[in-house]
């Protein structure tokens, strides 16, 4: 039994009296794309927050390749190989697209206590950054101010930044949210090409994306995971159907 890349045990977090996540257990294998779905208020955002390091769990552990990362800060987790995209697009708006990715490269290229050489002239940063921009299809927009990019392009940029940190685990928080059908199809196609090279944990509402990309799906309701399985298994699961009554319908 191979060890999971990401192993979550008993993850619990409440806000005041409200229990947001309760005793979450999750195993994500290396190379797997694991989707987390559930109705609004199920606790998906809180779960991602705890995985990424924004929120401290009240109880439970998170292990990345066997190492306990539960107490680590956001930047320490990035150093250990966790990368994320945000639900509400978060990039460096005052920098160009290439600069954005170069910053991600820089963050993992040793310390930044270098005070003299211009970073923009540093090919060890610029060349990889350019490559990642190409991977996501933004090579032509390298010099555009990131704040002026279209919404879909900004989301692509986020993924480029995440990839540039050479992660072992990608946390994607609603990567196709707010995208038109054309854009989201492009994004889904792109994410499929990543599947082979990355371990991905994906939170999504868009069932198209989920059922195309996911190897396995976990369903969260009211802070708990009520079912985990392959897409076929989840589709057939009666409890899941009940949970989704009135919410997004599962594609047949």
């Amino acid at each position: 039994m191979t060890e999971a890349l990401l192993e979550v045990r008993g993850l619990t977090r409440s806000f005041g009296g409200l229990i947001a996540t309760s005793e979450i257990n999750l195993d994500v294998m290396a190379g797997e794309t694991h989707a987390i779905i559930g109705p609004n208020g199920a606790g998906k955002t809180t779960l991602i927050g705890q995985l990424a390091g924004d929120l401290r769990p009240d109880a439970g552990t998170i292990r990345l390749e066997g190492e306990d990362v539960t107490g680590l800060s956001v930047s320490a987790r990035s150093a250990r190989g966790m990368a994320r995209s945000f639900q509400i697009t978060s990039i460096f708006p005052d920098f160009g697209a290439l600069d954005n990715v170069a910053l991600a490269v820089q963050a993992h290229a040793g310390h930044s206590f270098r005070f003299w050489r211009p970073a923009r002239a540093d090919i060890s940063l610029r060349v990889p950054a350019h490559e990642f921009l190409e991977v996501v299809g933004l090579a032509g927009r390298a010099d555009v101010l990131a704040g002026t990019l279209a919404h879909g392009e900004q989301r692509q940029l986020e993924i480029a930044m995440a990839l540039a940190t050479r992660p072992r685990l990608l946390l994607l928080d609603e990567p196709v949210a707010g995208m038109g059908s054309e854009e989201s199809h492009r994004m889904i196609r792109f994410l499929s090409t990543l599947k082979t090279r990355q371990t991905i944990v994906l939170v999504e509402h868009d069932m198209d994306a989920v059922f195309t990309l996911a190897d396995r799906i976990s369903v969260m309701v009211s802070g708990r995971i009520i079912a985990t399985g392959t897409p076929a298994e989840i589709r057939a699961n009666a409890r899941v159907r009940d949970a989704y009554l009135g919410e997004a319908s599962l594609p047949c």
Binding site: D54, V74, A83, F86, D94, L103, A104, S112, A119, A164
Partner: protein, 312 residues
């Protein structure tokens, strides 16, 4: 390109001031512009952390005081060599910036502003309570810093060019700093701190380093100020001083480096002119500041035609 040309012209102009002043038999202008350049250095050091790092420090004048008092106290005890005084002034500023920064940078926003203000007032009151060194009234500087014959600061021209040289050096160093990897982290943290952390930067240590660098640069400006006025007083550290320096940065153009220099020139010249008309010149300056903040937020540099690239 036009901007670069203006900057070069500006510095050539500054370089010519002593010669022009001599020709017009108005040595007062050497004194005035030297003072302006010293404050330009202080403003420049503030722009580093304010314009690029987003750290609104309302206590930056504290380092002027620390640098000045370092020189003054050493001189009072017989140590008049600039080779010892000036590095010590910078070192003292560095240490205090380290302490203040380590505490203040744990906060942000409104708290940060208030805390930096409070710390500088603390140093101000400390200065007042130092009876041995003049307390409230301050004390005269025994003698200008000596440099073992290398340069004589009691010669107005030599002192002027030392200050000019240091200002240019500061500008070059700052420019390099903000465009190097270090500067990128600071600027990224200002642009989007959550994102900076998510890609793997731990911004605190870089911000603290920037804070300390800015503090020690301002400390050197303080050492120069003590030599300039040949008198030190706790007023150097008063919070209204910090406000003035902030004003210079905004007036010139926040986050542009040269803007701070321009802002210092304009503000101090304005003060000079206004105070010759009326002793109540602050009542004119106040509204000017308000109007700049409300309507000309990007300062003098912002009034220049925009450059093609959205950078630097």
């Amino acid at each position: 390109m036009a901007r670069r040309l203006l900057v070069v012209l500006g510095f050539v102009g500054l370089g010519l001031v002593p010669l022009v002043a001599e020709a017009l038999h108005q040595p007062f202008y050497i004194d005035l512009f030297r003072r302006i350049m010293i404050f330009a250095m202080a403003a420049l050091s503030l722009d580093l952390i304010l314009g690029y790092g987003g750290m609104v420090s309302f206590g930056h004048a504290a380092y002027l005081g620390i640098g000045a008092y370092a020189v003054g106290i050493l001189a009072a005890h017989g140590i008049e060599s600039g080779f010892i005084q000036w590095p010590l002034a910078m070192f003292a500023s560095m240490l205090i910036a380290l302490v203040i920064g380590a505490i203040s940078l744990r906060t942000s926003g409104v708290y940060f502003i208030m805390i930096t203000l409070a710390f500088s007032q603390m140093l101000y009151y400390l200065g007042i309570s130092l009876e041995t060194y003049g307390g409230d009234d301050g004390m005269p500087l025994r003698a200008r810093s000596r440099f073992a014959g290398l340069v004589d600061l009691s010669d107005a021209h030599s002192f002027y060019y030392v200050v000019l040289g240091l200002l240019v050096l500061f500008l070059v160093v700052s420019h390099r700093l903000v465009n190097a990897r270090f500067g990128m982290v600071i600027r990224a943290a200002r642009s989007n701190e959550a994102r900076a952390q998510a890609i793997g930067f731990a911004p605190f240590r870089y911000k603290l380093t920037a804070f300390v660098i800015a503090g020690s640069m301002c400390g050197l400006a303080g050492a120069l100020l003590a030599n300039q006025t040949e008198y030190l007083t706790p007023e150097f550290m008063h919070w209204t001083r910090s406000g003035e320096i902030l004003f210079m940065v905004i007036l010139g153009g926040i986050g542009t480096l040269v803007g701070s220099v321009a802002g210092a020139v304009v503000l101090l010249l304005l003060e000079q002119v206004l105070s010759s008309w009326t002793e109540h010149w602050q009542i004119v300056l106040g509204p000017i500041l308000i109007l700049v903040v409300l309507f000309a937020r990007r300062g003098l540099v912002g009034l220049l035609p925009a450059e093609g690239r959205p950078r630097d």
